[in-house]
Symmetry: C2
Subunit: 194 residues, 2 copies
Amino acid sequence: MSKGAQTREAILDTASRLARTVGLGGLTIGTLASSAELSKSGLYAHFRSKESLQLAILEHARTRFVTEVLAPSLSTPRGEPRVRRLFESWLFWDAKEGGCLFVAASSELDDQPGPVRDFLVGVQQDWLDSLAEVFRTGVAAGHFRSDVDPEQFAFEEDGVMLSYHMSSRLLGDTLSADRARRAFDALLDRARTQ
Amino acid sequence: MSKGAQTREAILDTASRLARTVGLGGLTIGTLASSAELSKSGLYAHFRSKESLQLAILEHARTRFVTEVLAPSLSTPRGEPRVRRLFESWLFWDAKEGGCLFVAASSELDDQPGPVRDFLVGVQQDWLDSLAEVFRTGVAAGHFRSDVDPEQFAFEEDGVMLSYHMSSRLLGDTLSADRARRAFDALLDRARTQ
């Protein structure tokens, strides 16, 4: 990685952390400059506008998401173990400082048309597709019934995750993870072949 | 209602609509002044700071929420009919322009300590309590099993709602309401006495 690329990555690490706390819309080149100890003009050289900074942060978060959430599940045996691993990886991801950036950004920007919203739509669609696809490996492995709609499963699994996000991040409820796992177990029970 | 109170209500209607679109943090006294066709100084006379404006918007939204979401369920027979009515009233509420302000604001402000966040915590806790309480009327009426944990039911019902919000508002998926109802039916099936 070139020095310029390294600097860019370091800035995006800081920017992602900030964005998870103050929101993607609340992040300004000014506050980022203070946090990253860089000049505003230096930041503008990397990211020409607030919008391109937002897109770069989301791209950066997506790369981390693939590495930290999706990749571990793909190295876990297909079927129920992989379905469970993906769920647990997401809980772990969301429990980090500031929580899942995509959940926060989606609520924030769902009414603001443009490339940032388009990016978030793509991320969310890919995510639901991944949940459904990993569920399908469980059908193929004989763990889950073939008459369960994988997209419906993904919708419900995402709901459990979103409720966990709300319960743990806003309410700070210490039972959040237990409740999420109970809800997810019930979802798996309904889908199981026996 | 006095003329001053009427003006205040009219401003808060406009402000709530704006906040549902640009976010509570994205709403400035300046943009509100243009939308409400009032002077900035006029607005400052009503709301002394951005924070007190945010709190007034949330208070206003809570009053509407009680009237539009909670009240109809209380005039519906206790038990499963009331549980279903509350769920449907929420879907209808969230389908309005900009969607549920509390969902958006909660994601936006869950990492920003202060009175606005405290208010949102109270609203969310009250909401989960209401969901659990209405579920209990179904246990008392013999519709639902007494060994189902009402707080767990509320956690899962809220998850279905949050998934609906994401799916309909961000993705614009026309199947969102169908998926939410299927998920909710499955939740009721698990809780039913027979």
